[in-house]
Amino acid sequence: MQEIRINDSSFRDPNGFVIHSKGEIYRILNPEYNQTYDKFMQSGLYQELVDEKLILEHELEQGKRLGKRSIRQVKIPLITYPYEWSFDMLKDAGLATLRCQELSYKHGMELQDASAYNIQFYDGHPVMIDLTSFVDTKFTQWRAYRQFCEHFLAPLALMGKKDLRLANLLQTYIDGIPLDLASSIIPKSTFGSFGIALHIHTHAKMNTKKVNKFQYSFRQPSERKLGMTKNLAMIDSLKNCINGIKCEQKTEWDRYYDETNYSEKAFNSKRFLVKQFIDSFDPKVVIDLGANDGVFTEIASEKAFTIACDIDPNAINKLYKKNIGTPVVCNLANPSSSLGWGNKERPGILQRIKEQNGHVLALALLHHLRITYGIPFEKQFELLASITKHALVEYVPKGDSQVMLMMAGHHEIYADYNKESFENAMTKYFKISEYPIEDSMRILYEIHV
């Protein structure tokens, strides 16, 4: 194994880059940034950001790495990306970015960029991880204004004002959703919201080729010294705009567990079996696939670091609000793939999950993958075997009222949907142990490679 590896997404920032070494994360500071870093630390900005939990404490190393100063940063257990966040996660990430900018101004500094990828979730709250983003300010226009609008405001407006599913555009436009596109999709009624009218609609119009050409014909674009008040006024306006966008759309999975056909006895039996699985293996990491309301993630959280994946952004939003596990919006039938430069910049979710070496819970999930998405059981267990060595999975038989509803009378299509096929598919990749759920037709299987 290589001792030092440069992070695949760390090549844009002229101030430094991130390396991985012996399981630790280090940020290497380019010599030109040394003076700025000292100001960042000594001005009081660093301490204020730490106090407000906007950044995590770090340690400046005594010696040099690769001939440069380096800082050891706290390792974020699971890196997640904006297209895997729920509405409130993106909103809080945006507000955290603005707060960093606000505090920076008070100490004569600013953020050189406002990328949503600079934010990660740690212990249930957003933190700025890109420390070399903090630079000296001349109190001119914030150069990252457009980037902020594209990375945060546009997707939030699309999700809140049009459709939650438009968050998927963040996977296509990983450097932010173009404002003209956002402006053309969100309803015209949003012109009535001052913030959206200014920061999205007018902003989009100001960046058309025609307008830019017109501006160039008068004079070259310049940075003007605006002073602190004008800059803070803009930050305040962006904050108000973000706070004003709400998302109250329902999804098909809302209240899933309220509507399931479990008796109390069956549900308690399932809880017991999950707890038994967690207690007997004492895993460091548990990945709950199809976490929904997080009732089983919560059980696992008592013993392990948990990752809660679900296709439903509202379910993930609720988990985030309740601070249960590390929530990730993930459609297992089409998980986020490796994106960005060389397809290496933002690794796919399955790769990141695999690196966790965790135990997997796949409860009340596989029948959805089989019936709704048409994925054969064998393919499902092939995928599970590629990301974990230990899992607890649930088999929901054909006689279950939910399965009957999902099959909608087309039972003949699902001829392979039976216990035997399920077990045969499992045993191709795993050793299995069967645990029937009391007072239910459903069965849990403990599976190990």
């Binding site: 406002a114 630079v135 204004y145």
Partner: protein, 51 residues
């Protein structure tokens, strides 16, 4: 400071102009808002002292 920083993020010509114009306009409202907050804080402090 690194000169490259100026080119690190494409600020957008129109964005810079909009920022300057909107910043100037919004600063009036923002300043009034700050004075209002300070005024309210003073009143609240005075009330607390009376108690």
């Amino acid at each position: 400071m690194i000169d490259d920083i100026a080119n690190y993020v494409d600020a957008g010509t129109g964005s810079l102009l909009l920022y300057a114009i909107a910043g100037a306009m919004l600063s009036v409202v923002f300043t009034l808002k700050m004075y209002w907050y300070r005024f309210r804080e003073k009143i609240a402090n005075a009330r607390n002292k009376d108690k």
